[in-house]
Point group: C2
Chain length 195, copies 2
């Protein structure tokens, strides 16, 4: 093959994009570095020029994905005023932006005894982010008298697991068609916590 010279940074970006796609589709261990090489068009050696190893590449992508998810939510949050509206908005945000396939890869990596402890820690910290966002909404609702005074931690976990569970459906169903279901979940949840 020719050793053309291309912008190294865009190369890195392209590798990350293709890797993200493959990890999402096939999971962590079922995606090989060769797969990423073929899909991106860059040699295996070049991938290792940019990234220390497969595990670190994955963690980086997971972090980036979660970061984008959070920033995107922060930008959208102000569109809603009441905590109830925010909860509906969050449900839609989760439906359309929460990348369950990639996180599934994270569980895979996490359950592998050979994963480095540092990666495990980093992945764990990732899971905390959405919970924080949920909690913030619930706290606002309580403070403004919109929601009852209740066990915030419990509520946070409950809405988190519900939305997470619903997200699994995106594997088998069209995203758009799931909107009513997500909204229904929120409305049922609100029935219990609203004043």
């Amino acid at each position: 093959m020719n050793k053309r010279r291309y912008n190294s940074e865009t190369a890195k970006q392209e590798i990350m994009e293709k890797a993200w796609l493959l990890f999402s589709q096939k999971g962590y261990s079922q995606t090989s570095v060769s797969d990423i090489s073929k899909a991106s068009g860059y040699s295996k050696g070049h991938i290792y020029y940019h990234f220390e190893n497969k595990e670190k590449l994955f963690v980086l992508l997971a972090q980036q994905t979660m970061k984008e998810w959070f920033i995107k939510w922060m930008n959208k949050e102000n569109e809603y005023s009441s905590a109830s509206e925010k909860l509906y908005g969050m449900a839609m945000h989760v439906l359309y932006n929460y990348q369950t396939p990639l996180l599934k890869g994270g569980q895979e990596l996490a359950s592998n005894p050979e994963s480095s402890t540092e990666s495990l820690k980093q992945l764990y910290e990732l899971a905390v982010i959405p919970m924080g966002a949920y909690r913030a909404i619930l706290v606002q609702g309580i403070e403004e008298g919109e929601f009852k005074k209740g066990n915030v931690e419990e509520w946070t976990v409950l809405i988190g697991t519900w939305l997470g569970g619903l997200c699994q459906l995106t594997n088998t169903q069209d995203t758009r068609s799931l909107e009513p279901l997500f909204k229904k979940a929120v409305s049922m949840f609100l029935e219990s916590i609203q004043n």
Copy 2:
């Protein structure tokens, strides 16, 4: 090694037990046939004497697990009379008997493009079983006037995803300590559908 002769059926059983354990702990692709061989004490060749291949072995275990889950529920169901009680009972049954780790392996297998279509179909049929059990409870509740007349299919999916999402917590938290959370989810759900 000596080629001792042992009861072949118990050998098969022991292999299945160890395989089940490993698949649950490490997932599908991270569990090798060699792992199963070492853990069970039977040679690799002997595993292939009993099972066509790794994929079929896994599907068999998944089917068996789900079957047992369902039978166990059927036996327990009569302990509860009202549909509401049954829903609480089901939540506990799911918490203590729903083998998420193994099903995680199922998702792994399902997302692998090289899995045989037959295995995929069999895994999909598995996911239907618990939904049927949830639906039955909801239908009973409606027929006996305990629950509102509502969209049963929607309710089924909603309680199913909620319980499924909550089950993920068993990966990081003690099962016993999750009881209140599961019960709280059911009580919130009931608030919305009870007459």
